[in-house]
């Protein structure tokens, strides 16, 4: 079992580059521990900024730094970063077009039983609705590293959501195909299948598990790791949908305005097929660890398998 959460992979990637690229800055809102960014703050104090518990300020100041040529990475729990500082993300980052990378840590229901205040089930919808804001939910630590490496190369704003807990590896060291803004095929590329499963973030792993379980029962399924929710890789969505009888989108998000909505929009317009969106409910989720919450709402390999079989029966 992998022990490195995606947030730690971000820190390691930034550490690797910050020695030679002095424009890389990390900002935290009393969140350096939960962001796994303490090593960065210790090693590069001149490139670290502590904001205290003030997420609006975190994002506004990051935008000011960016306008002076810095590459700020602003870390805060996704729940606070995407709603409390939404106005700053809109005006200071997206609208002013500043090179701010917003890193939402402990996203989705990572905080489990801490309750709805700490859940970010709306972040994809919120951030994706901002013109000029990109939204990424990398699946595992290897893809997270590739994503951050790519984002270090550009000068546009972006929102990245990662979870709190380590997730099982999907890729391997040296075997993580990655192209920015292109989804990664995990299974069944170019094959006619019964079901196309499109997932992002922590849901990529159960999507893959479901496809494997379905295959054992003779039901073919393709799997797309759609880490790039915006800009959505429409080409890949249509390729997957075109070769499948049904499409299943899986996300750790509200039923509205997330990956499922976007996939349904594209498939409905260009390649009408039945689309099932598996998500969290439009309600505060049941109390439990994130694993328990996922199990409760069928956001597991088993749950996805069950859904696909029901839809095909």
């Amino acid at each position: 079992m992998n022990k490195i959460p995606n947030r730690q992979a971000i820190c390691q990637t930034l550490l690797k580059h910050a020695a030679t690229d002095k424009s890389i800055f990390a900002l935290c809102s009393d969140s350096r521990g939960s962001a796994s960014m303490s090593p960065f703050f210790q090693r590069f104090p001149g490139q670290s900024v502590e904001m205290g518990i003030a997420e609006q300020n975190l994002v506004g100041i990051a935008a000011g730094l960016a306008s002076c040529g810095k590459k700020p990475y602003a870390f805060s729990p996704a729940c606070f970063l995407t709603t409390r500082s939404y106005e700053q993300a809109k005006i200071d980052c997206a609208y002013s077009d500043t090179n701010v990378k917003l890193i939402g840590i402990s996203g989705g229901v990572s905080y489990g039983a801490l309750g709805m205040s700490h859940h970010s089930a709306q972040d994809i919808a919120a951030m994706a609705a901002l013109p000029n804001m990109r939204v990424y939910l990398p699946s595992d630590r290897f893809q997270t590293e590739k994503l951050i490496e790519a984002l270090l190369q550009d000068e546009k704003p972006a929102y990245v959501r990662v979870g709190r807990n380590p997730v099982e590896d999907i890729y391997r060291e040296g075997a993580c195909p990655f192209q920015l803004d292109k989804a990664t095929w995990l299974r069944g590329k170019g094959e006619a299948v019964r079901a196309a499963i499109i997932a992002c973030g922590e849901m990529a792993r159960p999507a893959l598990e479901a496809a494997e379980a379905l295959a054992e029962e003779g039901i073919s399924a393709s799997v797309l790791d759609m880490y790039c929710v915006k800009p959505l890789d429409r080409e890949a969505v249509l390729e997957a949908a075109g070769l499948a009888d049904i499409v299943v989108a899986v996300e750790e998000h509200s039923p509205f305005g997330g990956l499922g909505s976007m996939v349904a929009q594209v498939v409905g317009e260009y390649c009408p097929k039945r689309v099932k969106c598996l998500s969290l409910p439009d309600a505060p989720v049941v109390t439990g660890t994130s694993a328990e919450v996922f199990a409760h709402y069928g956001l597991t390999g088993e749950g996805i398998t069950r859904t696909v079989k029901e839809l095909l029966s």
């Binding site: 300020n57 000011g64 730094l65 002076c68 700020p72 200071d92």
Partner: protein, 271 residues
């Protein structure tokens, strides 16, 4: 003299565009003019120079005053602004647009300028650059919590390369600021956040000029200039009237305001 000519430009821009925030434009104009003319080290040729001074108009709705000053300083063309302000497809909108030369950041949503300027000032400190960072806030804007988050951080990081002007005209859209949400004791509030505070009559160009000069010599803390101004300054028709926050002058009002500005210009010439 010049400030009265720019007041007339502001009026004409508003009339040409069919709208604007004339009351706040008139109260903030002197600060913008003095800053750009005598203190801010930026020219149309140095808008990308890493050592340029930075300015963000946090009270972004005073855009027509900002247009008048940017045109006067050669960043924009006044005839073009008048021809296209508020028009379909125009870059000249009612709030700062950083696609235009000389405008660093978009604003319009209040409470944004100060945190952004804290980031700019922090970058300057970390890089050892000598540039200064300025912002102008409205007084009604001070009710936004993000202003005080920014003030707190600027004090914490001792950003003496940062200067924030509060255009203290005492009025906001609903009426007197002290009735809507009180800000006094304003000096004590800024001081308690770790700022030097200067208070001036912001309708006086020499007083503002002196404050900007003094702010450069104040070390160890950022400086707030409380600029006590008159909303609608320059025409008794508008002065100290909240309803002139964004009132579009009728034809006869336009003529009366023009005459008042001519009087002001004449009086300035005699001084």
């Amino acid at each position: 003299m010049l400030s009265w000519e720019l007041r007339r430009d502001v009026l004409d821009i508003i009339m040409a565009g069919g709208g604007g925030h004339i009351g706040g434009d008139m109260s903030v104009l002197n600060a913008l003019l003095v800053l750009y003319k005598n203190h801010l080290r930026i020219t149309p040729e140095t808008t990308n120079d890493p050592d340029r001074d930075r300015f963000v108009l946090s009270k972004g709705h005073a855009m027509e005053a900002y247009y008048a000053v940017l045109c006067h300083r050669g960043f924009l063309d006044l005839d073009d602004v008048k021809a296209r302000f508020n028009k379909c497809g125009s870059p000249y909108i009612g709030h700062p647009n950083n696609k235009l030369p000389g405008i660093e950041m978009n604003s319009g949503s209040l409470g944004h300028g100060l945190p952004v300027c804290v980031g700019m000032a922090l970058a300057g400190k970390r890089d050892g650059r000598k540039y200064r960072v300025y912002t102008i806030l409205g007084d009604g804007e001070l009710a936004e919590g993000s202003v005080w988050e920014g003030a707190m951080a600027a004090g914490h990081y001792k950003l003496d390369n940062l200067c924030a002007v509060v255009d203290r005209n005492g009025l906001q859209i609903s009426g007197p600021t002290e009735d809507v949400m009180s800000h006094e004791p304003l000096r004590a509030r800024w001081e308690s956040f770790g700022w030097h505070v200067l208070e001036v009559n912001g309708d006086s160009i020499p007083e503002l000029d002196g404050a900007f000069s003094q702010a450069k010599s104040l070390k160890g803390k950022p400086t707030a200039i409380i600029s006590r101004t008159t909303k609608g300054f320059g025409s008794p028709l508008m002065e100290n009237k909240a309803e002139w926050h964004h009132h579009l002058p009728a034809a006869e009002e336009y003529e009366a305001i023009k005459k008042d500005f001519e009087k002001g210009k004449g009086a300035a010439a005699r001084e």
